[in-house]
Symmetry: C2
């Protein structure tokens, strides 16, 4: 009985609808965006995110660890994706001078060029699919809610709270 939320509670009709709509929208959007990135630059969404972070970083450099944070991956998954990008000379990797354990990832000119090449279509997809049907009020409302939810999720025990014993969530 030390649960924060009550597992016997239901979702009301409006909640259920919103949940399903959210998942459908993000799924369709992801699909569309993925396909565009693949066609336009042979990039997966994850690879695009890596490039985006690097392009937005000071000097176009970040440590592997910094890249991993927020991109959901395991470190080995990031190594794999970074390996693909490096093979195409879109990024380079070099040991950090400060901490020899760390690896500094840098976008190359080719990486920036590809990112710039792909970005307009990406943005266009998002605008066309997601924002086109919204009014300014819609956008403002959406921003408010999503911001709140994101903050809540980030503060919520990081996915599954494994350390806790006796997780009987389905009883």
């Amino acid at each position: 009985m030390d649960r924060v939320s009550d597992p016997t509670a239901r979702l009301n009709t409006e909640q259920l609808g919103a949940y399903l709509a959210l998942m459908e929208i993000s799924s369709l959007l992801q699909y569309a965006v993925d396909e565009h990135l693949r066609n336009a630059g042979d990039l997966s969404y994850v690879q695009f995110q890596i490039l985006a972070r690097l392009v937005g970083a000071p000097d176009g450099k970040l440590r592997m660890t910094d890249l991993a944070d927020g991109i959901v991956y395991s470190r080995s998954g990031l190594t794999y994706q970074a390996g693909l990008l490096a093979k195409r000379d879109l990024i380079t990797r070099a040991p950090s001078p400060d901490d020899e354990r760390s690896v500094i990832v840098s976008v190359t000119d080719a990486g920036r060029a590809l990112f710039d090449h792909v970005l307009p279509g990406h943005v266009d997809d998002v605008r066309r699919l997601l924002f086109e049907p919204m009014t300014d009020k819609d956008l403002a409302a959406l921003s408010t809610v999503l911001g709140r939810v994101r903050a809540h999720m980030r503060a919520t025990p990081p996915r599954s709270a494994k350390p806790r014993a006796g997780r009987n969530r389905t009883g």
Copy 2:
């Protein structure tokens, strides 16, 4: 110049933020929900969706094609997932009497039982992560916007409009 949307347009700061928040939220939610379904019932999200549709269908029966619609898959992907569910006796498959080409999928009692077993924790995850931080007004606003966006996406040329010649989306 026959584009509906202008590819040179940018996303403003608020749009970009909302887009990133949406993707982060759905990603985290998907991750959490996926993990729960896996732990509680050894089900992937897709398998859960298949069961959910069947449970909600008249007589617990649907054709493969009906199942495929909306679940983003290729038909072979659906066959694969249905195969996994059938192997566990959670569904059965039989040729349709009406149209011998079609396959009718039915939930078994075991399938219903597993779905019922897993549902409360699933719902609880969604409520805890997504709806807990929302006010009633938030929910109402979100529903409105998402509903509009979903309708727009469904009406929009089904992902990538391949039939169109000369798709230069990244120029």
